[in-house]
Symmetry: C2
Subunit: 377 residues, 2 copies
Amino acid sequence: MGDDILNRGLEGIRVAETRLSDIDGEAGELTIGGYSVDELARNATYEESVFLLFHDRLPSPDELDEFRADLAGQRTIGDEVRAVLRRAADEDKPAMDALRMGAAAANLGAGAEDPEADARRVIAVFPTIVATYWRYREGEAPVEPREDLRHAANYLYMLTGEEPDDPAVRGLETYLNTVVDHGLNASTFTARTVVSTESDVVSAATAAVGALKGPLHGGAPGPVLDMLRTVHERGDPEAFVREKLDAGERLMGFGHRVYRVRDPRAAVLSAAASEFYEDAGDTEFFESVKAFEDVAVDLLAEHKPDRRLDTNVEFYTAALLDGVGIPKELFTACFAVSRVGGWTAHALEQLGDNRLIRPLSTYVGDHDRSWTPVVER
Amino acid sequence: MGDDILNRGLEGIRVAETRLSDIDGEAGELTIGGYSVDELARNATYEESVFLLFHDRLPSPDELDEFRADLAGQRTIGDEVRAVLRRAADEDKPAMDALRMGAAAANLGAGAEDPEADARRVIAVFPTIVATYWRYREGEAPVEPREDLRHAANYLYMLTGEEPDDPAVRGLETYLNTVVDHGLNASTFTARTVVSTESDVVSAATAAVGALKGPLHGGAPGPVLDMLRTVHERGDPEAFVREKLDAGERLMGFGHRVYRVRDPRAAVLSAAASEFYEDAGDTEFFESVKAFEDVAVDLLAEHKPDRRLDTNVEFYTAALLDGVGIPKELFTACFAVSRVGGWTAHALEQLGDNRLIRPLSTYVGDHDRSWTPVVER
């Protein structure tokens, strides 16, 4: 087997067939469950997006009511898990660590192992885990989930203790729909690898949280927000971008490994943010964000004429999530609150037609070493 | 990219170069850290095996003292994690679920993120997590770890509350050394994929627990023990094997995806079990196990002349772990208590020369669906 090829990034290797999402990097198109990301994100509630991923069709009114009620009825986490989240907050662990701890314990208080039931349970508790951690971190008591609110609204409610207004819910929901699935990224692939051993969906989602935590995957939307705020305050985006480029620094929020044109999710999130800030009657910050994009894209094209660098999903994620009231420390965890729909759908798809994922390694170490007892070392 | 090849199991794809272990399936040879599995397993303490994996050489006496003391000094888990394990036990969740929960929270009470420190912490707490869960499940109070005992001895001590005798410690330690690493199996690959995003070692080990939980990977050593006990009580292995083969059933404990001859770990574990049962003055059960192996190998060769089916690692794992006092419900978790050394070493190796692992998928769903509002469905 020594002549097999070493492919450390698995570039160009297709490891799954999926009906969940399709990325066309050249054309800048993303299809989720058969819908363009724009069509889905604008129209769906998060519950509809998840139902679509699970069942490859939209729910009937009755099915949607049932699906919503099922998720809403299992949002509570037990006191033991709360105590762990409180400890994570007290020790100032990152939100993604707290989410990993909560996710790992998601089947406490739930029934026996069942793939789709596990998937629904995990999706239901992710916002509760993140919000509970955040409340402790802010020195506040956690807010009990409310069954009468839909997924996105209840998440904001648990974060703040106040019922959110419609523009904020709609803004967050558009975000949750937009990033719910995106082909075989590292976390989704991790989830599929875990269940390929016929393990369970809770284990798969927990593993995926760990993969998303890495900055090469989950990115750095928090620092993007800091940058947007700095540029807004300074008021001279051109000077800012020129300084960065002259110093040879990468400009956060631009460029993507797959997309050769503008990330289609950036357009959806930009429109959602625009709508949100207009509804909120607070357009000043967002106008400076858009002006920054225009200036940066032009200067990047001038600077690297051979490669188009457009805004990626992080750029408008920062602007939109900040607007609807998500603290920047929770941006990556909020990504997970959405993507868990995709992770669990991929896990179910993998389990439905499974094959163990088991690549090889090339050994580069010694052979036939002889043992030396410790006293002779 | 449509002409890339679909390879759902990643067969024949080499995704890492490693100096940690090497499997020669044709020859039936396993090298761990440069030593044959036999050479390592017979001679090393578990702490030496892990040091070897981390540093590619055996520790000096001083280094070994320091390494042992470091692991021994951080075996305690916090009250919050204990409470979660108690809940898992009360709800009769499997040991691997409890281990996933405890692993996910392993960095509570530990310092800031640091790959090698995280690795040591995870290794140190795995036995505590498993033993704490087990004590609760048995309706007993957890046993505080003892710093003066080495890794394997302390694990047995925490399970039973009694200081184990030398044969049991040596038997368990041989097991822990034997299965500490084994190329790129699904859980080790999961650990490497998670840190390939530049995530952390705690996340990697937690993810790996989830992958090992799956029966296609972690296997079923518990049921193997039941089988060995049944055959021992019935006293007629030939009739048992013939019944299974005539019924077209698979014989547990035989055959391996990679090894075409006897799994070299089976030989090591068989010798260790033989030694253990002799020392314990209780050879009756083990003699029937060996007789069962002989009969089964002969009958399998008769039944499937084109493919050799030999005992695999599970066969003697069951006999050895049962002997040293590990309850069968903990066999897979005990596998993890060993393998976490390999997982963390692979994670450190990956982080030391990293590349994001990100394969592709092939989309097989629809495109350009049009949204239908819920009231019109």
